[in-house]
């Protein structure tokens, strides 16, 4: 059983098909196009984008918030499931944690892409310099720097630590250069009881620490908006609203990635309908929560009837942005709700359909938070509009391709499902430390 499990899950690491290389070339090509578009934007300046007064935050910021939101799929969900000891989490956690690491990296690129002179990004790093320029710790953008980097570092460690035993497993099976590389990566892991206990203790403590970090990250991303006195931004609900939205989109992304991995690597025996059903229930819960937050936000603005806010409000309800708003409601609530709530309709396919809708809907939500508020600021003379240009669109498409490319590349390096955790899940649960007398009973349990 253990041997078959290892063979199944290590197959993608040891075997490479032509389709794999074709996919890498395709995705790599799209990423190169994105880099080219970014280079074009840097060389010619922001005039080549759709950014124009008064809308100076648009598609890049939408993608920034969207990807940071997607990053909540992994570490947060994994940490919660680990802490509540949900046994069905075992095949899911690593898929999710990888999403977090890559989504954060991609998301963190967008503030740099948005900079006219990205080579000056190091100004954000707090160190004494002869310029006498220190970061202003009152700026939400500096809060972002600390929050995102803390979350990224913690998530990478949370992802990497449980990989060590799996690297040791590959080390023992590999030959040649692979054996040497995995020998280094496994750090000489042996698998003594002391090492297992320390690893599990560390994962438990890190799960506890990462939960508040994850919540803080998206709260702080929401502060980028809510600290500004811009219509429909200056709201106390933004922190929890953003966090709920992030978890919502994160779960949706996780379901899509799991379905793709299941199909591509024939992992049907490991990523079972049960996992999709359980994640689907979480998605349903988040859909309801999202609807609750949207209703709260909209009702408060409408009831307050402030002229500045109502201009933005009506532009999204009946005006120029209304098609996007109602598409968002359709994608985030109207379609997923019946698909996930009606038991008879629940399946892997419907979970994926609902998740695709949610990802689209949540991207639209990020766009609708940013652009309408900036294009309908307090005074009518400061109104404007925004239409994206090809540079932003290509960069956005490349960001999705880079997520896929990174995932495809990492599938060659690590098993996408934690082998040792899956094996541990197969053990009989004895409830207490077993001694020699209990071994017979355990045999029966098996």
């Amino acid at each position: 059983m253990a041997d078959r499990l290892s063979s199944d899950l290590l197959r993608p690491v040891f075997q490479t098909s032509r389709k794999y290389y074709a996919l890498v070339v395709l995705l790599g090509g799209i990423v190169l196009c994105g880099l080219g578009a970014w280079g074009y934007q840097v060389y010619y300046g922001f005039g080549v984008t759709g950014y124009n007064w008064p809308v100076y935050w648009a598609l890049h910021e939408t993608n920034f918030v969207f990807w940071i939101g997607i990053s909540h799929a992994g570490t947060l969900i994994s940490a919660i499931l680990r802490l509540v000891n949900a046994t069905w989490r075992r095949p899911v956690t690593r898929c999710a944690e990888i999403i977090t690491a890559f989504a954060l990296m991609i998301g963190a690129m967008f503030p740099l892409i948005h900079l006219g002179r990205p080579w000056l990004a190091f100004f954000l790093i707090p160190y004494p310099s002869e310029r006498g320029i220190w970061p202003n710790y009152r700026s939400p953008l500096v809060w972002d720097f600390f929050a995102i980097n803390t979350y990224l570092l913690a998530s990478l460690l949370f992802l990497a630590l449980p990989m060590i035993p799996d690297f040791a497993l590959i080390r023992d099976r590999a030959t040649g250069w692979r054996k040497k590389v995995y020998g280094l990566l496994s750090l000489g892991w042996q698998g003594t009881p002391k090492q297992w206990h320390r690893l599990e203790s560390a994962m438990h403590i890190m799960a506890l620490a990462i939960l508040p970090i994850a919540v803080s990250v998206h709260t702080i991303v929401s502060f980028d908006f809510s600290m500004a006195v811009v219509p429909m931004w200056h709201s106390t609900i933004f922190g929890p609203y953003f966090v709920a939205g992030a978890i919502f989109s994160g779960i949706a992304a996780l379901i899509i990635v799991m379905a793709l991995l299941r199909k591509a690597f024939h992992l049907e025996g490991y990523l079972q309908p049960l996992h999709f059903e359980n994640l689907g229930k979480l998605l349903l819960l988040m859909s309801l929560l999202w609807g609750y937050f949207v209703f709260n936000e909209r009702l408060t603005a409408w009831y307050g009837n402030s002229p500045h806010e109502m201009n933005v409000f009506w532009s999204t309800q009946t005006g120029a942005y209304s098609p996007l708003f109602w598409t968002m409601v359709l994608c985030n609530f109207v379609i997923p709700f019946p698909l996930l709530a009606i038991r008879r309709l629940r399946s892997v396919f419907t979970a994926v359909v609902a998740s695709c809708c949610v990802v689209v809907g949540m991207w639209l939500e990020r766009f609708l938070i940013i652009v309408p508020s900036l294009s309908r600021k307090s005074l009518p003379y400061a109104w404007g509009s925004y239409t994206p240009e090809w540079t932003e669109i290509v960069i956005m498409i490349a960001s999705f391709a880079s997520m896929a490319l990174l995932y495809v590349l990492v599938s060659k390096v690590v098993p996408l499902i934690s082998i040792w955790e899956l094996k541990a899940g197969d053990q009989p649960r004895l409830g207490a430390t077993a001694s020699v007398h209990e071994t017979e009973a355990a045999g029966e349990l098996r």
């Binding site: 253990a2 041997d3 707090p126 220190w134 202003n136 710790y137 009152r138 700026s139 500096v142 809060w143 600390f146 929050a147 803390t150 570092l153 913690a154 630590l161 060590i164 035993p165 040791a168 497993l169 023992d172 099976r173 750090l187 000489g188 892991w189 042996q190 698998g191 003594t192 009881p193 002391k194 090492q195 297992w196 206990h197 320390r198 690893l199 599990e200 203790s201 560390a202 403590i205 890190m206 620490a209 990462i210 508040p212 970090i213 803080s216 040792w420 094996k423 541990a424 053990q427 649960r429 004895l430 409830g431 430390t433 077993a434 001694s435 020699v436 071994t439 017979e440 355990a442 098996r446």
Partner: protein
Amino acid sequence: MSAIYGLYETPQGAQRAFDRLRAEGISTRGITIISSEPHEEWEFASEDRRTVMPWVAVAGAAIGLASAYLLTALTQQSWPINTGGMPIVTNWTNIIIMFELTMLGAVLATVFTLFVTAKLPAKLPKIYDPAVSDGKILVGVADPAGARLSDIERALNAGQPVAVHRMP
């Protein structure tokens, strides 16, 4: 270095061998157990469970908090910037930086403690067998006293091992 070890298919077998080795007078610390998955509910894998890791994590968090306070407050005092009439040392906003670095301190201290207490990175141990990666559980004794080798081998065989190996 000499050693003798058995490879077991099941934790029950490993537990039986472990018990017999102890009955032969070998201390728990003298018995090497290696597996490709945790078996924390079994007695043979329940030694060394006391750890200072949570306390080190708390200490790391405290160091992170103190560093963040010093970083923000000293910076703001050294280079005073008037931002919208806020105080020079703005504790409300600094709490965000302090929170992040507190948690970062806890995480880094946890990882540091893991590496130190689990002795990572390390060379492969004296007793090791790649069959462990195939799901076998290794139970063995390093540097056994020559006269007791047969007793140890008998104890290892009590767990019905897949194989018993002697090194060198």
